[in-house]
């Protein structure tokens, strides 16, 4: 069975995957990262955590996820930068 790393937004409603990393590079080379990376991890999205996508709001809206027993809404731009691993 192979594993694929895809953005969280590529998951279908109801699918579960494991967080691999958060791509929060502010600019290449300067080493700065967006602050939302820490906020996401504070909310429980650390590497290795299971996350389930519940649904997305229409019009390219936020994504609803379940993580560590809590229900979160994430902006699509942010959800795009969360990389997860799924098994084929």
């Amino acid at each position: 069975m192979g594993k694929r790393t895809i953005p969280l937004t590529a998951l279908k409603a109801g699918e579960t995957a494991t967080v691999v990393s958060i791509d929060a590079v502010f600019c290449k080379g300067c080493g700065k990262r967006w602050g939302f990376e820490k906020r996401l991890m504070d909310m429980g999205l650390t590497p290795g955590t299971k996350v389930t996508v519940v649904k997305s709001a229409p019009f390219h809206g936020p994504v609803e996820i379940l993580v560590r027993g809590s229900r979160l809404a994430l902006g699509r731009g942010i959800a795009d930068r969360i990389l997860v691993e799924v098994e084929d």
């Binding site: 939302f36 820490k38 906020r39 991890m41 650390t46 590497p47 936020p62 809590s70 229900r71």
Partner: protein, 649 residues
């Protein structure tokens, strides 16, 4: 005998029932203000218990102590610098793992700690049962199960807190990370020996490895070598684990929280979906969700403004009964006039803003506490994001069409200072009911409803453009939606009412002096016959640039007090309410005048609300910006309208 005093701080995630506990403990002995120099709300209160006078402070709801936000900085500062006698950590029993992640951080601050395991009833309904004794043993701190909205466990909680405070017992348990991280911590702790810092050495070591910039600066001054070593160690750890050192530490801390949570909770899955669950699915549904949202918003808008309208009218009539009494008291001369005008200002303040603020606050807290607000934000996330706003901003924005004052106060619900600033700015541009009076009463009446409608669309375009512009130029990280949608629950009515009451008091304290001063100044100008000279002085702007009659300058000055006064003053000054027959005040002038009134300045009560929410400096900047903007756009509109109307003829 000296008075026995204790200080208790409440800390915890947002929406765990902290404010319910706070209100339960303090009752009506509380004070809501801002943290010094900050626009973050500070709630303090006192109570008497077992011979102690206890000061209670409700720290802002946060998810971490990583000082990412001002709220987090404030909380850490307070706990480490002010050193409360005991911290009560309120946690949501139904989301134990994430709440314990915060608890573990608090434990690192070496402060006496008691855990309030709140909403155990809701957790039970969700199929989560928690072994309190085991949790107590694993954490090494007292754990008290509570159901705050029913007052269950609160007395015991207070008892345990006082007991811990008396013993000054700090948590004994040390949160142990993996071996590599622990080695790094040990090395740094050793280096920190003899370095005098207000934080415990182990805490400093961990935070330095996590790359805490605030702390780096502080330690740099004391011993730069420590910071350099920390950077070196964190680099090594990063290479070893393949993730940044802060990620490793956060992940390990979460693992510990998760392990404790799994050990103490017994899960039983219920077969049929709970009511809360079904309600959530319905209200976030791609069709039904929007239908429910629109209906709710309409109902809210309608009920707030009918309720407010009645209340406003009633209060107005009540106050004007005192008019003859006033003149009898102070005479009908200049003094009587002056006094009455001040009184009129107060009446305006009471009758215009307050009747709407009260129902608005109640509705807002209701929406927030119940959890529906976050669902609306979820549905509106993308649309609001286009103007650079958080989805939650839809509420103040819509309410702004009624009255800007409660709308600005409502921007309190924004999570970061930047989001709040953007939201209040956009809100002040929304034409409120008073401005609607002018749009409809002037342009709508004399030019036709389609012109009025066009002005509304023009206003929306401006809101959109300025919102985006502010979003681009404001420093700081752009709005990123990371929001918890906690389970639906019935809000605690008493807490909602108390929150409303104390915030209302806070607003009155800022607004009333301003309103009184404003009315007094304008009356003084009038009494001393300075209105015309001022209008004359304004003529380069009003007459030359905007193409308006000279006396409109006077009307615009009065509009600062309340926007509909511009129209009332215009009628008084023209000596007629039929504006169509006023020479030199044609369709072009009417439109230009309306555009200027729409944007030129938030009224004095709104300015007070701005000061409360974003501080006087930023309030001043917004005010000045809007004056300049209104004048600029009015002048441009004047010149374009001349061309259009010339073509038409």
């Amino acid at each position: 005998m000296a008075e026995k005093r204790l200080r208790i701080a409440l800390a915890g995630n947002t929406n765990v029932g902290k404010s319910v506990i706070f209100n339960y403990l303090t009752g009506l002995h509380q004070h809501i203000g801002n943290w010094p120099g900050k626009t973050v709300e500070k709630a303090e209160g006192t109570l008497h218990f077992k011979g102690y006078t206890i000061d209670i402070i409700d720290l802002p709801g946060i998810y971490s102590l990583s000082t990412y936000s001002i709220e987090e900085q404030i909380s850490r500062e307070y706990i480490t610098v002010e050193k409360p006698d005991v911290v009560i950590n309120v946690v949501d029993a139904s989301v134990l793992e994430r709440n314990l992640y915060f608890t573990l951080q608090l434990m690192g601050l070496n402060v006496p700690l008691v855990l309030a395991l709140n909403q155990v009833d809701m957790a039970k309904k969700k199929g989560i049962e928690i072994d309190v004794e085991k949790l107590e043993k694993l954490l090494g701190i007292p754990v008290v199960p509570t159901v705050a909205i029913k007052g269950i466990g609160i007395f015991k909680l207070l008892e345990r807190a006082v007991e811990i405070a008396e013993k000054r017992e700090t948590p004994k348990m040390v949160v142990k990370f993996g071996k590599e991280v622990e080695d790094g911590i040990a090395k740094l702790v050793k280096m920190l020996e003899g370095v005098h810092c207000r934080y415990p050495p182990r805490y400093v070591a961990i935070r330095l490895l996590e790359g805490d910039e605030e702390l780096e600066k502080e330690i740099e001054r004391l011993n730069p070598e420590v910071v350099a070593t920390a950077k070196k160690i964190s680099k090594e750890l990063e290479e070893l684990h393949g993730h940044s050192c802060s990620t490793v530490i956060m992940a390990e801390r979460y693992e510990i929280a998760g392990r404790i949570a799994r050990e103490v909770q017994k899960l039983s899955s219920s077969t049929k979906p709970r009511l809360e669950e079904r309600l959530h699915n319905l209200t976030t549904h791609k069709i039904a969700g929007y239908v429910i949202m629109i209906l709710s918003l309409l109902a809210i808008f309608y009920s707030i403004f009918t309720a407010g309208g009645y209340l406003s009218e009633f209060l107005n009539e009540l106050f004007y009964i005192t008019e003859p009494l006033f003149y009898e008291l102070f005479g009908t001369g200049a003094i009587g006039n002056l006094m009455w005008s001040v009184m009129e200002g107060v009446i305006a303040g009471i009758t215009i803003a307050l009747p709407y603020i009260v129902p608005f606050y109640i509705v807002l807290y209701f929406l927030e506490d119940s959890g529906y607000l976050s669902r609306i934000a979820f549905l509106m996330g993308n649309i609001m994001h286009k103007i650079g706003l958080h989805g939650k901003a839809i509420i103040p924005l819509i309410l702004g069409y009624g009255c800007n004052v409660p709308a600005c106060l409502g921007c309190r619900i924004m999570e970061t200072e930047r989001e709040r600033l953007l939201a209040v700015f956009v809100t002040t541009l929304v034409p409120c009911a008073a401005r609607t009076v002018i749009i409809l009463g002037l342009v709508g009446k004399y030019l036709g409803i389609e012109y009025a409608l066009a002005l509304y669309i023009f206003n929306l375009a401006i809101i959109f453009a300025l919102g985006r512009l502010a979003f681009k130029v404001l420093p700081g990280e752009p709005t990123a939606l990371i929001m918890e949608m906690h389970d639906y629950r019935w809000p605690h009515l008493k807490t909602v009412l108390k929150q409303t009451w104390f915030r209302l008091l806070e607003f009155i304290k800022i607004a009333f002096p301003l309103i009184i001063l404003g009315s007094f100044t304008i009356k003084l100008i009038e009494v001393f016959g300075l209105l015309e000279p001022i209008a004359l002085a304004l003529s380069p702007v009003t007459v030359t640039w905007l193409g308006l009659p000279l006396i409109t300058g006077i009307a615009l000055i009065f509009g600062v007090l309340r926007k509909e006064l511009t129209l009332i003053m215009l009628a008084t000054l023209f000596g007629t309410t039929n504006f169509a027959e006023v020479p030199g005040f044609g369709p072009i002038q009417m439109i230009v005048f309306t555009i200027v009134t729409m944007f030129y300045i938030p009224c004095i009560s709104t300015i007070a609300a701005l000061i409360k929410e974003i501080g006087w400096k930023k309030a001043l900047i917004i005010t000045i910006f809007e004056i300049l903007f209104a004048i600029t756009i009015g002048g441009i509109a004047y010149r374009i309208l001349i061309q259009i109307f010339a073509l038409g003829h």
